[in-house]
Structures are given as C-alpha cells and as structure tokens.
Symmetry: C2
C-alpha cells in the first residue's frame, strides 16, 4: 500500500514533493531578505549621506561659495564612498536578483536609482563651479533620494513573511519621514538665511511638518518595540521644543520682518542633529530586521528539515505511527468534516492521514500569514494611493505638490475622514472618469 515511497525526491509530481517545494519557497524568500537587508542598510546610509551633502551644498551655494567649502567637499567624498558601498551590496545579489527575479517593479526601481546615481559626479561639478542655484540643486538631490527610497518601498512589497513586511513598512516610512525632515531643514534654511518667510515657504513648512507626523505615526504602528521607544523619546526631547519654537518664530515674526541670519545656523544645526537621531532609529529597525530574518530563516530551515524527515519516515510504514502524533493539530476548518469522512471509511490509512495533516497545516499557515500580511500591504497601498491622489490633483488643477497635499488634507478635514480614505475616493473617482 505504500505508494509514496521516495516520491517527494523524484521528478514525479506528488503531494509530498509540492509540500516540500512550498516550504522551500518560503525559505528562499527568507534567504532573499537576509541579503536584501544589507542592500537596504546601504541605501539608508547612502540616503543619509546624500541628505548631508544636500544640506552642505545648499549652504555653500547660498553663501556664494563662502561657507562650507571644505566641509561640502569632505561630505561629498563620504557620500561617493557610500554610493560605492551600495553598488557593492547590489553586486553581491546582482545575479540572484536578475535571474530568479521576484519583481519587475523592484528591478525597474533599482535601474532608476542607479541611473540617477550615474549623474552624481556631474551634479557635484556643477555645484562646485556654482553653476546651479539652491532650489535646482535641492530638487536634483530630492529626486535621487526619492528613487533610492522607492527601492526600499518595492522591496517591502515583495516580503511574504508578515513580521519582516511590517519592519520594512516601518523602515520605508522612517526614511520618508527623515526625508521630509531634510526638506523642512532646507525650507527653513531658505527662510532664515533669506531673511523671511513668505506664504509659499510657510505653506511648505506646514505640509512638511504634517507629512513627517503622518510617517512617524505609521512607523510607531509597525516598528519593533525598541525602535518605537527610541523614536518616541526622540519626538519628546528638548530639541523638539527648540525646533518647534524656531518654526513658530520663523512663520510668525519671519512673515513681517527680516530675521537674524544666525538663526539659520541654529536651525540647520538642530535639524541636522534631529536627522542624525532619526538615522539611529533607522539603524535600530535594521538591526531588528536582520535579527528577525536570521530567526525566521533558522525556523524555516529546521521546519523544512523536520518535514523532510517526517515524509521520509512515512515511507517506512512500520515506524510511521509514532512521530505523527505530534502533528495532529486541532482547529476547525471547512474541510474537517470531509477529512473525517476520508479517515473513517478506511481510505485514510495512517500515512495518508498524516500527509493530509501536513498539507492542511501548511495551507492554514500560509492563509494565516496572508492575513497577517494584510496590514503591512495596506500601509504600502495607502502611501501609493496618496502619492497618486497628489499627482492627480497637481495635473488636474495645475497646482504644486504642496498645494495638492493641502487640498487633500482639507478634503479629509472637511469630510471628517482619514487621509488615505479621501485619497482612495479621489483615485477611484478619477478611474471612473477615465
């Protein structure tokens, strides 16, 4: 009666072979993320380097080359080095990424990021020769950074393990939040060093502050406990109050009279410190991501080995009864009645029954994982929808990004709804009108 003998290792399709393949597929995904973790870390470092370079370049350009000359150069060299590290990390998984590819989206976004980075030396030359103005330089750096973060976003979207997906969602929102912080630093610097804040600057500040808050809320919903505590204490410390005071001062007094340019230095220093602290939270999330990857990988590997042993033992009917008891899980499901029918009438002999348990257990596990994954996927989807809604508003009403964000926020407030909800309604309305 033993028809299953060694079938799981042959090329012949069998329930056992597919059960093992399903487990192996999970293992491969985890292995992939063990490697992706390094890439994501190198992106986080590179983005931080580019943010510092953007800040230094803006001061250099804004002071007509008088301030921050050597500093900018040193920082630029540092971020060139970080770019090298990123490309090294990519080279390490290049073959895996491009042959067993998980997602054409991820690959396209890596292409886009790499393409942006290729223009970096030229951008630096133009900054050095002061052939660029501050807003133009800022925008080019922003585009680069945006593309790098998009790679992390797409990586998060390919995660299958819910706990890893949640940490990547936290990571993406932390990176986005820090980038909004960097843009706020630039906006504030423009106001303080330019001697005042006009309506456009004030609106931009408001938008960036709110965008940061929204990102950090998501981080607090998805990051590990330690990283959450770190972020919370960052958001509660004295520097935050000081930053709040300067914001307030700039946007009120700065509206009517010129400001002391020393405030610009103070603002820049405080915001830079804040970004360095946010970078530390990113590192904490990275650490916990790596730890979780190692843990899940070890679990999955040992579980696969366990399954292989079990299935092999089912080939020897004489000792098949013992180890199988461990696997009988309780729990009600749609097939339970049918499974009883199988086993009650003699169809389900001991070995059949056990493979059945293993297969059922795997289906249930995967189902549970899908459900647990949903929250993380929704957070990513919300972000995507909001970006789309903003783009829609920009094109449709011919307004700027800041204004589009404001319109969206106002719609949400007026309707007493959450931002993602309003964004969704807007996007689906636009789909209907297409």
């Amino acid at each position: 009666m033993n028809t299953n003998k060694h079938r799981y290792s042959s090329d012949q399709p069998s329930a056992e072979a597919y059960l093992i393949a399903s487990r192996r597929c999970e293992l491969m995904n985890l292995q992939h993320f063990l490697q992706m973790g390094k890439l994501i870390q190198s992106i986080s470092n590179l983005v931080h380097g580019l943010q510092r370079e953007r800040g230094a370049s803006n001061i250099f350009l804004g002071s007509n080359g008088e301030k921050f000359g050597p500093e900018r150069k040193a920082i630029a060299e540092e971020s060139a080095q970080l770019r090298f590290v990123f490309e090294q990390a990519l080279a390490e998984i290049h073959v895996e990424l491009t042959t067993h590819s998980v997602s054409s989206h991820l690959l396209a976004h890596i292409a886009s990021a790499l393409h942006g980075l290729e223009s970096l030396p030229e951008l630096r030359k133009r900054i050095e020769t002061r052939a660029l103005k501050v807003p133009e330089a800022t925008e080019l750096f922003c585009t680069l950074i945006h593309r790098l973060i998009a790679v992390v976003f797409e990586a998060a979207d390919t995660a299958v393990d819910p706990s890893l997906a949640r940490l990547l969602v936290a990571m993406v929102h932390l990176m986005n939040g820090k980038e909004f912080c960097g843009q706020e630093r630039a906006t504030g610097s423009a106001g303080f060093s330019g001697g005042g804040f006009d309506t456009a600057l004030i609106q931009r500040m408001t938008h960036l502050v709110e965008a940061q808050e929204r990102c950090f809320e998501v981080v607090l919903g998805f990051a590990d406990e330690q990283s959450c505590q770190q972020l919370q204490s960052l958001l509660a410390n004295d520097r935050e109050k000081e930053i709040g005071r300067l914001r307030q001062f700039g946007c009120s007094v700065g509206r009517y009279k010129p400001l002391d340019s020393e405030l610009a230095d103070q603002w820049f220093a405080l915001m830079s410190e804040r970004m360095d602290e946010l970078k530390k939270v990113e590192e904490s999330v990275e650490t916990s991501f790596h730890g979780r990857c190692v843990e899940r990988f070890a679990e999955a590997r040992s579980s696969l080995a366990h399954h292989e042993t079990l299935i092999a033992s089912l080939d020897q009917p004489e000792d098949a009864t013992q180890p199988l008891l461990v696997l009988c899980e309780s729990g009600s499901n749609g097939e339970s009645r049918a499974s009883e029918a199988w086993s009650s009438g003699g169809i389900g002999q001991q070995s059949g029954r056990s493979i059945f348990d293993l297969v059922q257990e795997q289906s249930r596990r995967l189902q549970q994982m899908s459900e647990d994954l949903q929250g993380a996927k929704e957070a990513l989807e919300d972000r995507r929808t909001q970006e789309k809604a903003v783009l829609l508003l920009m094109n449709h009403r011919n307004i700027t990004n800041d204004e589009a964000h404001r319109v969206l926020r106002k719609l949400a407030m007026d309707q007493g709804k959450k931002l993602p909800e309003v964004a969704r309604a807007l996007v689906s309305m636009a789909d209907l009108l297409k």
Copy 2:
C-alpha cells in the same frame, strides 16, 4: 564620456542591466503562464470528469446499484485518464514550479489537490461496493473538486499581466459557477428522486442558484467578448426556462407531495447538458487565454530585443541620436521638472537622457499594469473574503455553510450593501475582536 559601454551585459550593476532584467522578469512570468495554461486546461477537464463521475456515482448509489452501473464505470475510467493527463501536465512544469517558485501558496494548493487525488481509487472502490451513502460520496467529490479549483485560483493570483489576470479571474469564477451548478444538480436529484423537497433542500437550492448567479456576473465582467456572448446565450436559452420551471415546481409542489421520479431523470439530463455547455464556455476562455499568452509573450520578447539593441546602440555615441527619437514619450509625471533640470544643464548628455527615457517608460508601464491589475486582484480578494466570512459565521454561530451564506445575503440586503462589502466588514470586525 561613454561609461555605459557593455555594462548591461556584465555582472556589474548598472541602470541598463536592471532595466533589461526588469523586462526579462516580465517575459519569464509570461512564459510561466504559457505553461500554466496547459495545466489549467487539464484541471478544467479533470474537474468536469469528476463532476460527471459524481453525478453517475450518485445515481448508482441512490438506486442501490440498479441504475448507471456500466455508465459510472466508463465515466470513472475516463476521469482516471483525465487525472493522468493532469499529472502529466504538472510533470512538464514540475521542475520549473518547484525551483523558481512564484508562490508557496500555489505549491501548497497543488500538494493538497494531489493528495486528494491519491485517494480517488479507494473512493471508487467504496462506491462500487456501495460502502458509501450519496451525501458522503458527494462531499468527498466536492472536496476534491474544490481543491483543484483552488489551484486555478492561486495561479490567477500570481498573474502579473492584467489581461491574463482578468481571464484567469473569469476562469476561476466560471469553474466555481459550474461547480455550484453541479451541486444544484445533486441537490435537485436528491429532491426529485427522494420524492420531495424539505426546507433544508429548498434553502440549499436557493443558495446554489444565487451563488451561480454571482459567479457568472463576475465572469461577464472579466471574460473576453466571445466567451461572454457564449455565456449570455447559454443563460438566455430555452433549457434555462425549463430548468427554472423544474426548480420552481420542486420547491413548491415538492414541498407538500411526493414527486414523479421521472422528473429526477429529466432534471439530471437538463442540468448535465447545462454543465456541458458551461464547459464549452470554459474552453472558450482557455482558448482566448492561450491566444493572449502567445500574443503578450511575443510582444514582450520583441520589446526586450528592441531594448537590448537600443541600449547596445547607446554604446556608440556616433549613431545614438537617430533611433532614440522614437522613444521620447510625452506625458506629464512627477519627475518631469527634475528631468528637465538634468538635461538642461549639460548633465544629461544624449545617451544619459535616453536611458532615462527608457527607465521612465518602464516604471510608467509597470505602474499602469499594477493599476490595471487591481480590478482582477479585488475580484479574487472578494471571493477570499466571502469564503472567510462564511467560515467565520459557521464557526461563530455553529451553523451550516448554506445558513451562513443566507445570513450573509440577508445582512447585505438589510443594509442595502453589496455582498463583498458586508463580508469585508464582518471579517475586519472579527479581526478587531481577536
């Protein structure tokens, strides 16, 4: 200045290499579906065979072995042959499926289907020796069929191309609709040959009729035009009226007095004919799926070749200007201002600009594909959510599947909402209560 030379073919990460990899990844997915098409076709055939075998077995068992003896045997041999064809189709893609696996869910469901099929010979033996009763035999066949359809469902969930995903959504709902039709045939047969319809049978009939209608609605929303027409004319022909009359008669007259058992034969014949016709619609969807696969694969392959040629030509700056004009697409997007900045100041030399276009084009294409994919994904998600809501209600209120469906429908009616909406609300409520 030509730093891109041949970099796309080396192991060094470059924008070109990742752009090509992204295109190749799409191509691989299409190739996968060219092969999956055959598997899905063999599943559709096997399910039809099992449905016929279930019908014949029920008549055989119900008549205490007096009717359909030889017919059942012949049909059983046929479906054994169809099982063999399915396993052959699986063997052909076995290596690809189990090594470059796309989805651990798909693999787990294949394991589950294969495991079910392994017990088929034993089930037949029990039917032949009449060691089973009709409801038990029906349930075992239903479980088998359900698992096979679940494989198609999971395959649909791995589709990346929107047009293919839509056809697979149609296919899954067609298969599900036909299976509900098969269950209605069995339920009606029980009523007509048993001499009457009690409340439970009537409720079951009502549920199955509505479940079919819902499935066919989805099919009409997602199938190709020809298949839609075929289904529509099937649903509008005289047989449908005849079936409607019998249903009506069974559930009204059959409630109070015994029915002529000849009606059972008539009912069985009509419903079998209907299922054969539905099978033809499935074949039409399969044909159009295969055609679309071939078409999309050819497109993707030629587009990949085109890209490779283009990128290679960018290595020769002297003839780089000509072919690139073709690719300059218009269209507004968030990065357009930044891209102008790149090109305006001399950073974007001709070759840089063109790679930029290609990369942008790919990102836009993938974005558009994701958006177009959404409808199909939502239809699958709705189905999953409904099944989950039914399971929840069954467990929570300790009611049968039919009753759970009725509760769900009543909730939708009372609240004036659509079924998927109510199911979603129910599931998310249950998640909160966990």
